[in-house]
């Protein structure tokens, strides 16, 4: 299997395909809104958007069970949303309000949500991999059949931590699915300028981990590969590794003048926009009417609009609480102490959103 591409079978049912299209649209619209809100100075700090890469999170998240764990990077708004964190709680977090999923203490790069077992939001490149290994170790030792999915960029592959982590996972046969989002750039450093061997799946294979490269612009291909990998991991097959070949359409962050790549290169990749690709395939197959497309867009827009309302109505945490959450608070915040419950703010965001559009 190693190093070969997995193609999807093509016989996926139309309703499910439309569901995946909606998931990608939800992320796209949320991210577009984030950029707008950043320009309006509502969101501060670093902001990394996922535009162009939506098929990866969409395809992987639909393959997970609620008990599974997810670890992601600072480019994680889409992962959080598709894992089931309400858009309102995400936006309120970026506004720095107490209604945010982390009370405004994390910000864009550090979204966490115990209720959906979403373990962040890590802004140290490769910093999440050892966490995923540890989460999986705990599951294995406790005899739980959960899977821990760990997302990271191809830039992380150069870090020693990457190698240490996948070695441990392989050595101990831990239930981790490593998802390398290979968008070809780590900030301004192209993969070919940082790796002697650019076939990333091969690196995992060197640690005896089954690894595939997948077209990360094809959400159906991602989903099929993720399902197979998740099933294999869950049934005791040890860690698996997917290299998802994708591309980021926007700048690395809001501070990136993009000196390291050409507009032509970006334009070429945008021809493979995952949303456009799936939409076209569905239309060609007669499985997506103009009205249905309009409806999907309207649904995604409505969700984002409600989320903005929720965030706009947010409130700053009283400064008197500044030094809370440095040590756990015995007898304090019950929801935080138990560690699995959903934060009140996050639950409120979920209620505000009315129906949830895409929980796993």
């Amino acid at each position: 299997m190693t190093g070969t591409s997995v193609r999807h079978s093509g016989s996926v049912d139309a309703a499910h395909s439309r569901h995946l299209l909606l998931q990608m649209l939800r992320v796209r619209q949320l991210e577009e809104k984030c950029v707008e809100l950043y320009s309006a100075a509502k969101i501060r700090g670093f902001l990394h958007v996922y535009i162009g890469e939506e098929a990866v999170a969409a395809g992987v998240m639909t393959s997970l069970a609620p008990e599974d764990a997810v670890v992601a990077t600072y480019r994680e708004h889409g992962h959080a949303l598709l894992r089931g964190v309400p858009a309102g709680a995400i936006l309120a977090e970026m506004y720095g309000y107490v209604e945010g999923c982390c009370r405004g203490r994390g910000g864009s790069m550090h979204l966490f949500d115990a209720g959906t077992r979403f373990f962040g939001g890590n802004a140290i490149v490769a910093g999440g991999l050892p966490l995923a290994v540890g989460l999986a170790l705990a599951d294995k030792m406790a005899g739980r059949s959960n899977v821990t999915v760990c997302f990271f960029g191809e830039g992380a592959v150069a870090e020693g931590t990457f190698h240490e982590s996948i070695n441990l996972a392989a050595l101990w046969q831990l239930p981790v699915l490593f998802c390398c989002e290979n968008n070809l750039y780590a900030m301004g450093t192209a993969l070919v300028r940082s790796e002697s061997q650019t076939d990333i799946a091969l690196k995992a294979a060197a640690y005896e981990i089954p690894a595939w490269a997948v077209d990360g612009m094809d959400v159906l291909a991602v989903e099929e590969a993720a399902r197979r990998a998740v099933d294999a991991v869950r049934s005791g097959g040890g860690p698996h590794f997917l290299e998802l070949r994708t591309y980021r359409f926007r700048a690395h962050s809001m501070f990136d003048p993009e000196r390291y790549r050409t507009k032509e290169e970006v334009a070429r990749w945008m021809e493979r926009d995952p949303i456009t690709l799936l939409r076209a395939a569905l239309e060609t197959a007669g499985q997506l009417s103009a009205a249905e497309w309009e409806q999907l867009q309207a649904d995604a827009q409505a969700e984002v609009a409600a989320a903005v309302d929720f965030a706009e109505a947010g409130t700053p945490e009283p400064v008197e609480e500044l030094t809370r959450f440095v040590y756990s608070e015995p007898g304090g915040d019950e929801e935080l102490r138990t560690g699995t419950a959903t934060r009140a703010g996050t639950a409120a965001a979920r209620r505000h959103a009315g129906k949830t559009t895409g929980t796993p």
């Binding site: 309000y97 802004a123 140290i124 830039g155 192209a190 400064v319």
Partner: protein, 326 residues
């Protein structure tokens, strides 16, 4: 000549690259990207990819390689994007760079300069807001610099490159855009003394790096209230310029230390201890401190501001000290 802190740093790197062909710059995104804080912008075009060397994401690897290159006779400038990521290279810095000279019985020098951004204040959340220069100042074998002015931004690098031992330069992220006048021929500066940025007789405000502007503002406010504060910029955090600290306290008899690091086990604690050890009988009041709140730096603006030393807190601490004692 008008210059920003960023441009002054760049000019310092250019000077060094031109003066000594053993000098090269290496780090993540120093080349094609133009430097993550645009310090090295344009240098790739001028000096080429061998001397403005982009590295993969591997802090331990490329810092270690910098140590090796220094051992091998080069004069590397290694840029670590920020102090936060230097933790991935801590082993190389503490176990190799700082110890090789000693362990080799004086045989192997490590003439390496490591530059990195430090500090909070830009709503970047806990993992991007550390001020850990005080930690590094704990390590024998390292020299730790904190340029707070344009002259120092431009001039410390060359002197650091002349040092036979490893030097770490901490550039506070809030300073890059600070602009002002800098002499065209601004050149190397000494890297072993503290500097009085504002003379005064009533209280010594001792600080360094990114908090210097706030301390100077505080001194202005204090002046309006009739308190004449002296502002001492430590510049070099290791080894500390004890003589300058003690001389200032001998003049003012009162001291407040302002440090963006956390109070516990901090550089401010060290300075305070030295004052009480060596100038106890000069003091008219207990030494005061303004540090960051003991909390990972929060993202939300109001919480972040509340966590960091502010002009108000500095003024209040100085007044408390001035009001205390005899």
């Amino acid at each position: 000549m008008k210059s920003s802190y960023r441009e002054a740093l760049r000019a310092g790197i250019r000077d060094a690259m031109i003066r000594d062909e053993r000098v090269f710059l290496m780090g993540e995104d120093v080349g094609a990207y133009g430097g993550s804080f645009a310090v090295s912008l344009g240098l790739l075009e001028e000096f080429g990819p061998d001397r403005i060397r982009d590295t993969p994401l591997s802090e331990s690897g490329f810092v270690g390689a910098g140590i090796g290159a220094a051992l091998g006779g080069m004069r590397p400038i290694v840029e670590i994007m920020t102090v936060n990521f230097s933790l991935l290279a801590l082993d190389q810095i503490v176990n190799n760079a700082a110890t090789l000279l000693h362990m080799s019985g004086g045989q192997f020098h490590v003439p390496l300069v490591i530059r990195m951004t430090t500090g909070a204040g830009r709503q970047l959340g806990a993992q991007h807001s550390h001020s850990l220069e005080g930690w590094y100042a704990h390590i024998p074998g390292l020299r730790i610099l904190a340029p707070a002015t344009l002259e120092d931004a431009r001039g410390m690098l060359w002197t650091a490159l002349q040092d036979p031992d490893p030097v770490l330069i901490f550039e506070h992220g809030s300073l890059y855009n600070v602009a002002g006048e800098l002499d065209d021929d601004a050149g190397p500066v000494d890297i072993s003394t503290a500097a009085i940025r504002r003379p005064g007789k009533d209280v010594s405000l001792i600080t360094y790096g990114g908090t210097l502007p706030a301390v100077l503002d505080a001194a202005d406010q204090l002046a309006a209230d009739g308190i004449d504060a002296e502002v001492l910029d430590l510049r070099t955090l290791r080894p500390l310029d004890d003589a300058a600290i003690l001389a200032s306290v001998a003049r003012t008899h009162r001291a407040v230390i302002i440090d963006e690091g956390w109070r516990s086990g901090s550089l401010s604690a060290e300075v305070s201890a030295r004052i009480t050890e060596q100038a106890f009988f000069d003091l008219d009041a207990p030494v005061g401190r303004v540090c960051s709140a003991e909390v990972p730096i929060p993202y939300a603006k109001h919480l972040e501001l509340a966590a960091l030393p502010s002009v108000e807190r500095i003024v209040a601490a100085a007044k408390a000290t001035a009001g205390a004692g005899g």
